[in-house]
C-alpha cells in the first residue's frame, strides 16, 4: 500500500477532499498524470491528428444515443420497423436521437478512415507502434461488424436484403459454408431469429469488445508515445529534453491538446449537426431511400447496395468474376516463380514455394469464384494488420520520402474512392473492369510494398520536429 499523505489542518476544504481521495484511490490520480497532465505529446501535430479524438467522441455519441434508442426499439420482425417510426414520430426528440445515431454511424467511418490514412502517411504503424496499429485494425474490424449488424435493425428493405446478400456470402465457403450461414442467420432466410441475434451482438457483444480494444489502443499508444508528422521520436534516448527529463518537442496532453481538441470537436460538431438537422438522409447515402419501405422477404429490390462505407470492399468482392480468377491465378504463379528464382532460399524451400503456388492455383480453379471474392474482400481488411512489416522505407513520414511516394499514396486514395463509388452503382461492364484494375492496384500497393518502399532517395530527417509557433 502506498504511503498515507498527511495534509496541513489549515489547507482548504478542496485540498483536503482531494487528499482524502488520493489516499484511498491513488490509481485514479496516477492515471490522470500518466495519461493527461504528464503525457507528453509532440507539439507539431497538424490537422490530421484530430480524428483520433473525434472517433472517441463519435463512439460516446453512438453509445449514449444507442442507449436511448433501445428504450423504445423493438427487436421483433413484426414490430421493428414500426418501432423506429414510433421513435421518429411519437417519442419526444426521438427523431433527433435516431438521426444522431444514423449520422453517427457514417461519421464514425469518415473519421476512422481519415485517422487510418493519417497513420498510413506518417508511418505511425512502424516500430515501436505495431501493436497500436494492430489494435486499431481490430477496432476497424469490430466497427464493420457493428455497423453491419446495426443496419439490419430498422428492418427496412435494404436492411433485410443487404443482410441476406452478405450472410449468403459465407455460404460460399467450401464444406462448412452452408452450415455457417445457417448458424449466423438462425434460420434458412434472414428472419426474426437473425434480427434478435444481430440486436444482441449490436448492443452488447461487439460494443464490449470495441471498448476493450479502444482501451488497449490508447494504453499501448501512451506506452510508446505518439508519432508525429515528421516521424521523429521525441522521447528517444538522443532526443532533446529539459532539466526534468521532459521532451523539448513535446507538450503535456492536458491542457494543450485538450483545448486543441475541444476546438476541433466544435468544428466537427458544426458539420455533424448541419447534416443531422438539414440533410439527415444525405442524399440517400446515410439513410437509403429503399430502407423507408418495411422489409419484404418476397420482393427483392432491383439494386442492392451496402451503405457507402462498405462499398470499396463490396466493389472488390464484385470484381472477382470467373474471368478475373485467371488474372489472379497468373499473379499467384508469377509470385511463386519470382520467389523461387529471385529470393536466396534453400532449394527445399524453393520447391515448397513453387509447389504451394501450384496448389493454390489449382484450388483457385477448382473452387467457385464467389468464394474467392469473399477471400479478397476479407483479405482487403486483413492485409492492413500486416502493414508494419510490409513497409521497408528508411523513414517513417511521407514528408521525407521520395516525391513519387506521395503520388503513389495519392493514387491509392483515388483508387479507394473510385472503388467506393463503383460499389454504390449497379453493376456495369466498364465498372467491372475498372473495379478489377482497382482491386489489383489495392493489393499490389500492399503486397509489393516491401520492394517499392525501399526504392528512391529519401530526404534527410531533421533532429527536431518542424514547428512554427502560433
Amino acid at each position: 500500500m502506498a504511503e498515507f499523505k498527511e495534509i496541513s489542518p489549515n489547507a482548504s476544504a478542496g485540498a483536503k477532499l482531494t487528499n482524502w481521495f488520493e489516499n484511498r484511490f491513488p490509481t485514479m490520480f496516477d492515471a490522470y498524470r500518466v495519461h493527461m497532465a504528464e503525457y507528453y505529446a509532440p507539439k507539431n501535430f497538424n490537422f490530421w491528428y484530430i480524428f483520433g479524438s473525434l472517433a472517441m467522441l463519435v463512439l460516446v455519441i453512438q453509445i449514449v444515443t444507442g442507449i436511448f434508442l433501445v428504450m423504445h426499439y423493438k427487436p421483433d420482425a413484426a414490430l421493428a420497423f414500426g418501432s423506429v417510426e414510433y421513435i421518429m414520430r411519437d417519442v419526444p426528440w426521438g427523431w433527433l436521437i435516431r438521426y444522431m445515431h444514423s449520422t453517427g454511424a457514417s461519421a464514425f467511418f469518415v473519421v476512422v478512415y481519415l485517422h487510418m490514412f493519417r497513420g498510413l502517411i506518417y508511418g505511425s504503424y512502424r516500430k515501436p507502434r505495431e501493436l497500436v496499429w494492430i489494435f486499431g485494425c481490430a477496432i476497424f474490424l469490430c466497427l464493420m461488424a457493428e455497423a453491419f449488424m446495426g443496419y439490419l435493425l430498422p428492418w427496412g428493405q435494404m436492411s433485410y436484403w443487404g443482410a441476406q446478400v452478405i450472410v449468403n456470402l459465407f455460404a460460399a465457403i467450401p464444406f462448412v459454408g452452408p452450415d455457417l450461414a445457417l448458424l449466423i442467420r438462425g434460420d434458412y432466410v434472414v428472419g426474426d431469429a437473425t434480427l434478435n441475434r444481430f440486436f444482441s451482438f449490436h448492443v452488447i457483444a461487439v460494443p464490449l469488445v470495441l471498448l476493450g480494444l479502444v482501451v488497449a489502443h490508447l494504453l499501448a499508444l501512451h506506452d510508446v508515445g505518439s508519432n508525429n508528422p515528421d516521424g521523429i521520436e521525441i522521447k528517444g534516448p538522443n532526443a532533446p529534453k529539459d532539466a526534468q527529463g521532459h521532451p523539448l518537442d513535446g507538450v503535456p496532453f492536458h491542457p494543450y491538446y485538450t483545448v486543441h481538441d475541444i476546438f476541433g470537436v466544435s468544428v466537427f460538431l458544426m458539420v455533424f449537426t448541419a447534416i443531422i438537422f438539414f440533410a439527415p438522409e444525405f442524399g440517400g447515402y446515410f439513410l437509403e431511400y429503399n430502407n423507408f419501405i418495411p422489409a419484404d422477404p418476397l420482393q427483392t429490390p432491383a439494386h442492392i447496395a451496402p451503405v457507402w462505407y462498405f462499398t470499396p470492399f463490396y466493389s472488390m468482392l464484385r470484381a472477382i468474376t470467373s474471368e478475373m480468377m485467371y488474372a489472379l491465378i497468373a499473379c499467384v504463379l508469377l509470385a511463386g516463380v519470382l520467389a523461387a528464382t529471385k529470393l536466396k532460399l534453400p532449394s527445399l524451400f524453393k520447391a515448397v514455394v513453387l509447389g504451394g503456388a501450384v496448389v493454390v492455383a489449382a484450388l483457385m480453379l477448382a473452387i467457385d469464384a464467389k468464394f474467392w471474392g469473399v477471400v479478397v474482400m476479407g483479405g482487403a481488411v486483413v492485409i492492413l494488420f500486416f502493414l508494419p512489416w510490409l513497409d521497408n522505407s528508411a523513414v517513417k513520414s511521407i514528408r521525407y520520402r521520395p516525391d513519387w511516394h506521395k503520388y503513389l499514396y495519392g493514387i491509392f486514395v483515388i483508387n479507394f474512392v473510385v472503388l467506393a463509388y463503383l460499389g454504390v452503382q449497379p453493376p456495369s461492364p466498364i465498372g467491372e473492369r475498372v473495379s478489377q484494375v482497382g482491386t489489383l492496384f489495392y493489393f499490389g500497393f500492399f503486397l509489393l510494398m516491401p520492394w517499392w518502399s525501399r526504392i528512391g532517395q529519401t530526404k534527410p530527417v531533421p533532429d527536431r520536429v518542424t514547428f512554427a509557433a502560433h
Binding site: G82, V251, H260, I262, F263, I276, F277, N290, P294, A469
Partner: protein
C-alpha cells in the same frame, strides 16, 4: 488547410449531386413542396383522407398529429375521421388486404413514408409522386382501365379521375440513332374533369406537400432547431478557437 476545406466542400457537392443525375423513363416534374405552407398542407390532408385512405393506410401516422397543421381535435374528429372514432389512432385503411390483392394484383402500399422511399435518380420522392399522380391515362388494355407514364402497368386505378377527367398521351415518332422511337409529346383531354388542369396541378401539389410532411412530421422543427444549434456552435467555435490560441501562444 483552406484548399482542404474547399476540397471537402466540393466533394460534398459531388456526393449530393450523384443521386440527382440521370434516370430512365419520363423525367419527373419538380413538386411545389413547401412544408411551412399551412393552407396547402391542410388542403392536402383533406384530399388525402378523402381520396387515398379508402385503399391506402398511413399506419405510422396518428390523426391527432394533424394538430401540427393547425387543425383542432374537434375539426379532425368532425371532418377527417372516417375509419375510426379515436383521434389518437393511426390512419388505417378500410380495405381488406386480401381483397385488395385480388382487385389490384398487389396490396396498396402504406403511404406514411411514401415521399421518403420513392426518392431516386429522377429527383425527390415528392417529385416522383407529383409526376405519378398527374400522368394517369385511359388504357383499355389494362384490367382497371388505367395506366401511368412513370409507373407503367400500375395496379392502381386513377382515384382522382373525376377531378382531372380522362386523358390520353400523344406520342410523336422520332428518329434516334437510326431507330424509330415514340416520344411523349403531350396530352389529349377526352372528357373534362371538375377541375381545370391548373387547379388539378395545384391540388396534387397540395396533396404531395402533405405526403412530404407526413413522411417526417418533425421536419419543420428539425430545421428550426438546427439553425439555433448551428448559431450556438458558431459562437462556441469562436470561443474554443481563442481559448486554444491563448494556451498555445507560449509554446515555442
Amino acid at each position: 488547410m483552406k484548399k482542404l476545406i474547399l476540397g471537402l466542400i466540393t466533394a460534398l457537392g459531388l456526393l449530393s449531386g450523384a443521386h440527382a443525375s440521370s434516370g430512365g423513363g419520363i423525367s419527373w416534374d419538380k413538386a411545389p413542396v413547401n412544408t411551412s405552407d399551412v393552407a396547402s398542407l391542410q388542403n392536402g390532408a383533406k384530399l388525402f383522407v378523402n381520396y387515398c385512405l379508402s385503399c391506402h393506410s398511413a399506419a405510422f401516422m396518428r390523426y391527432n398529429r394533424l394538430q401540427d397543421l393547425g387543425f383542432t381535435n374537434e375539426q379532425i374528429k368532425d371532418n377527417l375521421l372516417f375509419a375510426t372514432d379515436k383521434v389518437g389512432e393511426t390512419m388505417k385503411s378500410a380495405i381488406d388486404p386480401k381483397q385488395a390483392k385480388e382487385w389490384f394484383g398487389a396490396n396498396p402500399p402504406d403511404l406514411t413514408l411514401i415521399a421518403r422511399s420513392r426518392a431516386g435518380h429522377g429527383g425527390t420522392g415528392a417529385d416522383y409522386l407529383y409526376t405519378f399522380l398527374r400522368t394517369f391515362y385511359v388504357d383499355e388494355a389494362k384490367a382497371t382501365g388505367w395506366n401511368n407514364l412513370v409507373f407503367p402497368s400500375v395496379g392502381m386505378p386513377h382515384a382522382l379521375w373525376e377531378l382531372q377527367g380522362k386523358r390520353r398521351p400523344v406520342y410523336e415518332t422520332k428518329e434516334e440513332h437510326g431507330h424509330e422511337v415514340h416520344v411523349f409529346k403531350g396530352w389529349e383531354q377526352l372528357t373534362p374533369g371538375t377541375m381545370t388542369p391548373l387547379q388539378y396541378d395545384q391540388a396534387i401539389g397540395d396533396l404531395v406537400n402533405f405526403l412530404q410532411w407526413m413522411g417526417e412530421p418533425a421536419q419543420n422543427t428539425r430545421v428550426r432547431v438546427g439553425v439555433w444549434v448551428l448559431l450556438f456552435l458558431l459562437m462556441f467555435t469562436v470561443i474554443t478557437w481563442r481559448l486554444n490560441a491563448a494556451y498555445w501562444k507560449d509554446v515555442k
